[in-house]
């Protein structure tokens, strides 16, 4: 089985502190309990269980300025602070859920963390659950991640054996159950309220907010849903402190980030770098630049539902604020590179097809609007487009893309690459209509260059 994700990484820079990937070598061998503990693993758990209160933990995470790594970038400490605590919470379970349903097109970072260092995630989850006083936790993982599921199950069993999970963890009086829930597959499960419905055995339609899950989530109880990479940071922040974590970032954001690049670059891959590393450095130094004979045309900074950026944005730092100010989102931080030999309309069509297929069908603009957009793009790509189709697309972007017109963020996310393609690649749309064909039209063959 070939799971290698970082074999193409460029030579390691000793000056860059590896945090989340410190146990992940080029051979991608999984880190077991012994190896994890030998490298400082579960030190934070011992520290917390021997004297830190949940309030102490929350203060540390708040002070660290950790922001959610799943795409939205919401401050983690603030999210946790909305959970009713102690006497203010009605009696019953509270839940911590790890969103391991990695399915955003072009995103391949959580797989690496779970396959190669499952204990890092589990330790982060125990600490997060302790902070919000949760007694039950789930890892909601996509069913296709067979290797990660197997390794997480093994790691959970090892934790129960060592008394890191179960009743009275390390004599602290704190109880926590943890389960792996394997999803039956659907992109929308990544939306936190849809994920909660899936965990309840229902169709994964997103729920209306409010109430927010922090107050009324799984089975109507307070629930926190966090991304894998977010939770993997927790033990390190508790262990080394918020000041250390803040010092890792290059700009206003704190910590490191798993960045990636896919498409026609020389060495596609996934690298842990200080958050705020410039796009150009990721693309040219780590991804090795564009594949031979190809030039950069644009890129999606963090998955299929982020706006295109172009060459003029290469010197921006990859952080939430800078990418946001440029009109896109850092999203998952794994970039999808568009080269000058690949049709931008074809690429957007591929994305819209995906989103139209993955719509849960609950609300009309998404269920009906996305297939309509797909149809218009199919016509343009096939050379049957008309000039007025471009106006139709602009209207669709306006109405389907507006937050508040749809039940959740899927359709607005789907419109992001389209609206920015219309802005940056307008001449390509026009060329398709004027020439009555796709100017990039290529024979149907494997386009992968031999550069990798």
């Amino acid at each position: 089985m070939n799971n290698s994700l970082i074999e193409n990484s460029t030579t390691e820079n000793p000056l860059i502190e590896k945090v989340l990937t410190r146990n992940i070598g080029p051979d991608l061998k999984p880190t077991d309990m012994t190896a994890y503990e030998a490298n400082g693993g579960y030190r934070a758990l011992h520290k917390v269980m021997s004297g830190m209160s949940s309030e102490d933990c929350l203060e540390v995470i708040k002070a660290s300025n950790l922001r959610g790594r799943g795409g939205a970038g919401f401050p983690t400490g603030m999210k946790w602070s909305f959970v009713p605590m102690g006497d203010k919470c009605s009696p019953g379970h509270k839940y911590l859920v790890c969103n391991a349903d990695e399915m955003e097109p072009g995103t391949f970072k959580d797989r690496l963390l779970m396959e190669c260092d499952p204990h890092q995630l589990i330790e982060g989850m125990i600490l997060a659950a302790y902070t919000i006083e949760a007694d039950r936790s789930y890892i909601f993982i996509r069913g296709e991640y067979v290797v990660a599921i197997e390794r997480l199950e093994q790691a959970l069993a090892d934790c129960y054996k060592k008394g890191y999970l179960g009743e009275n963890i390390l004599g602290s009086g704190y109880d926590l159950e943890m389960h792996v829930h394997t999803s039956a597959g659907r992109y929308i499960c990544g939306e936190e309220t849809a994920l909660i419905n899936a965990l309840e055995g229902k169709r994964a339609n997103p729920r209306a907010k409010p109430p927010f899950p922090q107050v009324s989530g799984l089975w109507g109880r307070p629930t926190i849903v966090n991304n894998v990479e977010t939770l993997c940071n927790i033990s390190h922040i508790i262990d080394k402190g918020p000041e250390w974590f803040q010092s890792l970032g290059l700009g206003e954001d704190a910590g490191t980030k798993l960045y990636g690049a896919s498409g026609h670059v020389k060495t596609p891959g996934c690298w842990e770098l200080p958050i705020g590393t410039p796009v150009r450095e990721i693309l040219e130094k780590h991804a090795g630049g564009m594949a031979d004979g190809r030039k950069l045309k644009g890129f999606l900074p963090g998955g299929g539902s982020t706006d295109f950026l172009v060459e003029e944005h290469l010197d921006l730092p990859m952080d939430y604020g800078s990418i946001g100010a440029a009109g896109s989102r850092m999203g998952t931080g794994t970039m999808i590179i568009l080269d000058n030999q690949t049709c931008p309309i074809g690429m957007v069509l591929n994305l819209i097809r995906f989103f139209a297929h993955e719509s849960c069908g609950f609300c009309t603009p998404c269920r009906e609007g996305l297939p309509w957009t797909r149809q218009v793009l199919e016509d343009i790509e096939a050379g049957h487009g008309r000039k007025e189709d471009l106006d139709t697309l602009l209207r669709q972007v306006k109405y389907i893309g507006a937050i508040g017109n749809t039940h959740c963020a899927l359709a607005p996310g789907a419109m992001e690459p389209l609206q920015s393609a219309l802005k940056y690649f307008q001449s390509d749309f026009e060329a398709h209509v004027e020439q009555g064909c796709c100017p990039y039209s290529r024979p149907l063959e494997n386009q992968r260059g031999e550069s990798t």
Binding site: N2, E144, D339, T342
Partner: protein, 187 residues
């Protein structure tokens, strides 16, 4: 088939299936919470979810068959039609598309004689598209059963399906039968 007939032809859940479903129910405040888990458990044993299996699960979880059907048909990885021995989950999302997955898909279709949603004549493989498999730096990728295959090209497709007797799109009943025979002999 009427509901009555379905209940009569119901294939009861096996002791093993019930044991696994009960393990899931142990941490669920209500039975319907185990709907997806139960569907996956039964599918693992039987390959797919027939109407009869659906009825049996619905009755065990105190759900209406309609409610369970709504759940079963929502999810990509619950199969409400028979599938081959191995499901080929072919990634056609954006990074794989940029790296030429359309050509690879055509090669697979030629090699196996099937399009999306179809099963090979010898019942070995069912080809299904899947959302991004999260291995984009090794695009194009696919899963065959539980195994991930990366950096796909035509040669790799030939290797992965090397045991497969090549069939054409115009497979007739007789050649389909002979394919089955040769596969059985080979295994």
């Amino acid at each position: 088939m009427s509901e009555q007939q379905l209940i009569q032809s119901d294939i009861a859940l096996s002791a093993e299936e019930i044991q696994q479903i009960d393990a899931e129910l142990a941490h669920m405040p209500q039975k319907s919470g185990a709907a997806i888990d139960a569907l996956k458990i039964v599918q693992r044993q039987r390959g797919w979810i027939s109407d009869e299996s659906l009825m049996a699960i619905a009755r065990y979880l105190d759900m209406s068959p309609e409610a369970l059907e709504g759940v079963a048909t929502f999810y990509n990885l619950i199969y409400r039609q028979p599938v081959g021995n191995k499901v080929v989950l072919f990634c056609d999302s954006v990074s794989c598309w940029i790296c030429g997955c359309d050509g690879v898909k055509q090669k697979i279709s030629e090699k196996l004689g099937v399009d999306y949603g179809e099963t090979t004549a010898d019942n070995q493989y069912t080809l299904i598209p899947v959302p991004c498999l999260g291995a984009c730096d090794k695009a194009p990728v696919m899963m065959v059963g539980d195994d991930l295959h990366t950096n796909l090209n035509n040669e790799k497709i030939d290797q992965i399906f090397s045991g497969q007797v090549s069939t054409t799109a115009s497979t007739t009943e007789s050649t389909a039968e002979s394919t089955t025979t040769s596969e059985e002999e080979g295994s």
